[in-house]
């Protein structure tokens, strides 16, 4: 393993990948800090840039964007009480009260430092869990992959915000959208209605850009909120804002939040957006002074910022070991790898080990770069918060169109961006969550291909899907998670 790390670092510690990591982290922090722009969007918009690059260079850029995107959210969460991304929602609970007390610098310093620590923790977990997990996954056949895909789908649908029924419906719509185009196994063109452009189906990139970026601009067109300059809290960072004694005090909180963050990250479909809130709640419950939470104490910021970065390493575990994305950003990374002809999954470790360890090295380097940039560049990022949204969002739309067009050099993909944008906007208005749509879109084909392959192996017998231990277990958990969330919802509706 050590020599593989050596190979990884020699690839990353060259001029080009380093520049790309700096670029990625910087742009990522900007996207993270500006409310409405997320890490997913940053990765989606920059994905087309990686088409012409060497896979390791491309991944270096995307990893930088991912880490920057998750870490940038704390800036606006602490300084203007608006979480820059869903990953920093819980950071506002104590981060902004700290800023009001004149401790903005302390909150920022601790947030940055614990983002780094949380990330590092989860990367270590990734390095030790992913290779053996890939070894186990090598023995998986179609039934196991089918069941894991179904499990992931039900999990995201039932854990997403709002009603379980709507979450499941979103997931199904995603599966149906993925059915458009050439079917797996027998290559029959489905739902193309005679349009040749639809033969290849919808591309993942336009789908993601449409659902998340276009939806966002339409929502902005509708809202009346604007960031006012005077709302930005005063801040001054000195050191990391906490003493050695406080560090020891936060140790338990840090370990718990890291575990929650990494665990949530590993679960398919949910990531930093969920883990920061769960870890904040856990920190409050376990605390000796829960009443102080929300008044501006360090514990809250530490819990939230540790957990959201810890989800990064977690989310990469199922992606690299099994080819199943852990959240929407890793879904984009999946697309990024596939464009270079690399299919993430257990075989990746044996066939392209150098790229896997290149990614590992990029994670470590990008994490250091994130601390440096956020710590020393904070004034610059804060200034960017002042760019009016009505100038910034249209420019982002142009980037969306360029990216979608550059995919295949055809306007058709730009049209699909638009289609998915309209779907996304409508779904938001109707109270349907968007993440299940994209997960259904990605996992639908994985489930279908493996179902049909599996049935061919078993001569059309469904029973082995249930009787094989791993496959059966995942299907049972999938069913249980739906039943559990329906019961929970009924209780909530009554109570």
């Amino acid at each position: 393993m050590l020599e593989m790390f050596y190979v990884g670092f020699t690839q990353i510690l060259a001029l080009k990948p380093l520049i790309l990591i700096f670029l990625g982290v910087g742009v990522g922090i900007i996207f993270g800090a500006i409310p409405g722009l997320t890490a997913t969007m940053a990765v989606a918009l920059c994905l087309p840039l990686t088409f012409g690059m060497h896979p390791v260079d491309g991944m270096a850029l995307l990893i930088g964007l991912y880490i920057g995107g998750v870490s940038g959210g704390l800036i606006s969460a602490i300084l203007i009480k608006i979480p820059g991304t869903p990953s920093s929602i819980a950071t506002t609970f104590d981060g902004y009260p700290m800023a009001e007390k004149g401790e903005a610098g302390r909150a920022l310093g601790a947030g940055i430092f614990y983002s780094f620590l949380g990330g590092t923790f989860s990367f270590l977990v990734l390095f030790f869990i992913a290779p053996p997990l890939a070894d186990i996954a090598l023995k998986f056949g179609p039934p196991e992959y089918f069941s894991i895909a179904i499990f992931s789908l039900t999990l995201i649908a039932s854990l997403s915000t709002g009603s379980t029924i709507k979450g499941l419906m979103s997931g199904i719509v995603g599966i149906l959208l993925s059915c458009v185009g050439t079917a797996p196994i027998d290559a029959f063109p489905r739902f193309t209605f005679g349009f040749r452009e639809l033969d290849g189906g919808f591309n993942l990139l336009p789908a993601l850009v449409g659902l998340f970026a276009i939806t966002e601009i339409l929502k902005t067109a509708e809202s009346d909120i604007e960031i006012k300059l005077e709302n930005i809290a005063n801040y001054k960072i000195k050191g990391f804002g906490f003493s050695a004694k406080e560090f020891v005090e936060q140790l338990g909180n840090f370990i718990r939040s890291s575990l929650i963050g990494t665990g949530i990250g590993i679960l398919p479909g949910i990531g930093g957006g969920t883990s920061n809130i769960l870890s904040y709640i856990a920190a409050k419950k376990m605390s000796k002074h829960p009443e102080k939470f929300g008044t501006g104490i360090l514990d809250g910021v530490v819990a939230s910022e540790t957990a959201n970065n810890a989800s990064i390493g977690g989310a990469l575990v199922p992606l690299l070991a099994m080819g199943i994305p852990g959240d929407t950003v890793t879904a984009m990374l999946l697309g990024g790898l596939m464009i270079h002809g690399l299919s993430p999954g257990p075989l990746l470790f044996t066939t392209s080990g150098n790229i896997v360890y290149g990614i590992f090295a990029a994670l470590i380097v990008a994490n250091f770069v994130m601390v440096l940039m956020e710590y020393f560049g904070i004034r610059f990022f804060v200034r960017l918060l002042k760019i009016p949204k009505h100038i910034m969002l249209p420019i982002i739309i142009v980037f969306c169109v360029v990216g979608a067009y550059g995919l295949n050099n055809r306007v058709f993909d730009a049209w699909s961006v638009m289609l998915f944008g309209v779907i996304g906007y409508a779904f938001e208005k109707w109270g349907f969550p968007l993440a299940p749509v994209i997960l259904g879109f990605i996992l639908g084909p994985i489930a279908e291909t493996n179902l049909r392959r599996g049935l061919m192996m078993t001569q059309g017998n469904f029973l082995p899907f249930l009787t094989k231990p791993v496959s059966g277990a995942f299907l049972v958990i999938a069913l249980a998670s739906v039943i559990y969330s329906v019961i929970k919802e009924r209780k909530r509706a009554k109570g």
Partner: protein, 164 residues
Amino acid sequence: MRVDTRKRDLYLGIGFLLFSFGVWIASLSIKHLVVARISSSFVPQLAAIILAVLSIILILQSVFGAPKSSAETEPIADQEGQSASKRKRRVQLTFLLILFYLLLLEPVGFLITTALYLFFQFWVLSRRKPNLALYGIIAVSTSVIIYYLFVKVFILFLPAGILG
């Protein structure tokens, strides 16, 4: 102007039910090509059935459900009717602008269409008094910078249109 979420969910349920019927009918034309237990029509049809069942549950929930169950998921609270209609118009105009942008992108070319799109989009989204001269400068320079950045640095192809 409060949206009644239960009524909305009722219509949505009916809409998705009809949609799942449509999917089912469209999937009937998928042919059974290989000798196997299930063909390419299996997953779409199964998805259509599940969607239909979920739609019926949604309809039943909205008719018989506790009145408050879904009210909390309504995120938008409208204060004034006038600003609401203004917002609606901004969304419609934004939508139209993107539509025209895509339509004209190939025939007219990236540089001109992008500059025009940006200019009008800035205008539509601006909340205060629009500064048209500034918008024009930003629109043109952004369009030029993006074009050269992508075509020269990242070697992506963009439609040159009438300038090509």
